[in-house]
Symmetry: none
Subunit: 382 residues, 2 copies
């Protein structure tokens, strides 16, 4: 079979199931991507794979997706490529083999930017933190991003407002490299205020996603995405995090993957640093006050010093209910079938879940269809 | 022999050698203080003891020293007294037996203040830090001092400018208790700018020293003194410390004595916190962000406190500051006169205390009156 046949198969597979889809990944590992795609299309799969793929299996947009990304100057990077970040993703496979929820390497990676993901992650550190960062946090993130990039270390982050954006900008100021891992298609500028930033990054690094073009960001996708941020760096620096910040999810993944977890101290009078102090106090994270300490901590010695702790708090939602909820529009209602396609959850399950979501005031009926309730849309602010 | 004979002997011995004098301490342990003083006076001692005592052995000022301290309302507390802090100093003896330089209990303690050193150190935490503290550090030290004292924990420190002074002041604002350990005689106000503070402390705790009256502060005496600060607390909190701060010496003693070492995180952009971050990064210190974490970290202390607070407010200070604080409303501000009526504290004292409570962010001015600050009302559940 040709390279392009394999690439088209993986492009199809990356859309057909909502990651992380362990059963589908197992099938691909067993029979290869081309045969797996063929079996999925025909529905000749185990019930486990079927429940992950039945909602979208008829939707083969591989050619269009590959063309759309090519139009943006991008490409699909697959495990069969030399530029696949094999080593960073190895930890995900190991974690998956140990039954950790944060495990499972992506089936493929949609990429914008010329650099090789493998080469760019040879020396890489994730820098993450709260969207609602303080001036102090943003300054520190920018300085760390700048200093790491200047030292030739790729700065991995999630392109969010606050700490993420400052870390990327710091790295760009040094001329890169930096990698933004998105929770949506690489054709979508999210958050919209970072459109300019996301246009600049491919010139000095990469914008990557395991989601095909057109996929919208959703809460469970942020959590799923966080494992890739944790995996792509040799360690993760949490610059600022409140007690309930999403950055703590990335921190938990980092620890679970056996990566070095670092936290930046801040004023104890600042709620934005309370999550960092919690990580320090519990001994989960190492205190870092400057770029030199980050580099020192992520050397071989640093890795040896930090025990790979199995954190049970890693809470990636495999919940179908959350996916259904995230698929609901804020405006006019849509059909259950549309929700099934958007969420990748089987139609019968969608039909069962929607009334349950309605009961807890997360979904509402509207215009003969379904949408988020007012209550839910307020909570939906990821 | 009489009690007074023993006391006079220890007064003499406390002046005759510069502490820590291990050989002299060994002789005292062997033959008792009265016989040891007799032998030292006659020079009938080993060469080791002789080299520690020959320079001052002719200078017997025991009577004058005891009289001078009595004139200040103070006294000499000796190991033979029930109020001797036997348990806190036990760690020093153990350390000395292991050849640690920070070891060796004092031969006697010159004391101002009515409280019993033994009773006051049953629950005690040392709060130390840089003299050149930042506004942030001083605020944190004052809040920790206040909160610990409010919880019935004695705040031990060194009466220096900066962190030490703020910790003592915070404790005094709560009505005490607090202990200042000096590196000079208790008749000397050092630093001179803290004369007022050192006058107030004996009313709510103790000013103590192993140096007899008239002894001037000197650099080696600060280092020697630091071991007593570390020993008298169940643990030591370093609020702020530069890389070369003397507080790091107290921190080292704390660790060597097997006490809990804690450090307060601060902005990494502040040189005043760099010593704290070093202690956190190396794993020597535990991060603490509030008084509850300090109490939780000091094991035995925490257990004691849980029991104490379960009872009544017997262990809470009956200080006027607390009464004034409790009298403040959460909502609209009220006049000082109303606070005086509510608290039963005289109006002039109320007028003096309110600005102090404001300094530690427990009171706030509002509508031309006084109320609890937002910060204070959160802590008000103690």
């Amino acid at each position: 079979m040709s390279d392009e046949e394999v690439r088209r198969a993986r492009a199809y597979l990356s859309r057909v199931a909502e990651p992380p889809a362990a059963a589908l990944a197992g099938l691909v590992a067993e029979v290869g991507p081309v045969r797996a795609a063929w079996l999925v299309r025909r529905g000749e799969v185990s019930s486990a794979v079927d429940s992950q793929t039945s909602a979208r299996r008829a939707e083969d947009r591989a050619e269009e997706d590959l063309a759309a990304v090519a139009d943006l100057g991008g490409r699909l990077v697959i495990p069969e490529d030399e530029e696949w970040p094999e080593w960073p993703f190895h930890a995900l496979a190991v974690a998956a083999a140990h039954g950790l929820r944060c495990g499972l390497a992506p089936l493929a990676l949609w990429v914008r930017g010329d650099g090789s993901p493998a080469a760019l992650t040879e020396r890489a550190v994730a820098v993450v933190g709260s969207r609602s960062a303080s001036g102090y946090g943003q300054q520190v993130a920018a300085e760390f991003g700048f200093g790491l990039a200047l030292a030739g270390v790729t700065v991995v982050s999630g392109a969010a407002y606050g700490i993420d954006g400052s870390a990327h900008r710091g790295a760009l100021t040094a001329g890169g490299p930096t990698i933004a891992v998105l929770a949506c298609g690489v054709d979508i500028a999210y958050p919209s205020g970072h459109q300019g930033l996301l246009e600049r990054i491919p010139h000095h690094g990469l914008v990557v996603s395991e989601y095909p073009p057109g996929f919208r960001p959703a809460r469970h996708r942020f959590l799923t995405r966080n494992r890739l941020i944790a995996a792509l760096g040799e360690g993760t620096v949490v610059v600022e995090a409140g007690r309930r910040s999403g950055a703590k999810n990335t921190a938990a993944s980092t620890a679970a993957l056996g990566r070095v977890l670092m936290a930046v101290p801040g004023p104890i009078t600042s709620a934005s640093s309370s999550g960092c102090h919690e990580l320090l106090r519990s001994g989960q994270a190492l205190a870092v006050s400057n770029v030199a300490e980050v580099i020192e901590s992520t050397g071989r010695l640093g890795v040896d010093l930090v025990e790979a702790t199995r954190d049970t708090d890693v809470d990636l939602p495999q919940g179908e209910a959350l996916r259904v909820y995230e698929a609901l529009p804020l405006g006019a209602g849509v059909s259950a079938e549309a929700v099934a396609v958007e969420s990748g959850v089987e139609l019968p399950r969608v039909r069962a879940l929607l009334p349950q979501l309605e009961l807890v005031q997360l979904a509402a009926r509207s215009d003969g269809g379904w949408k988020r309730s007012h209550e839910g849309s307020q909570r939906g602010d990821t």
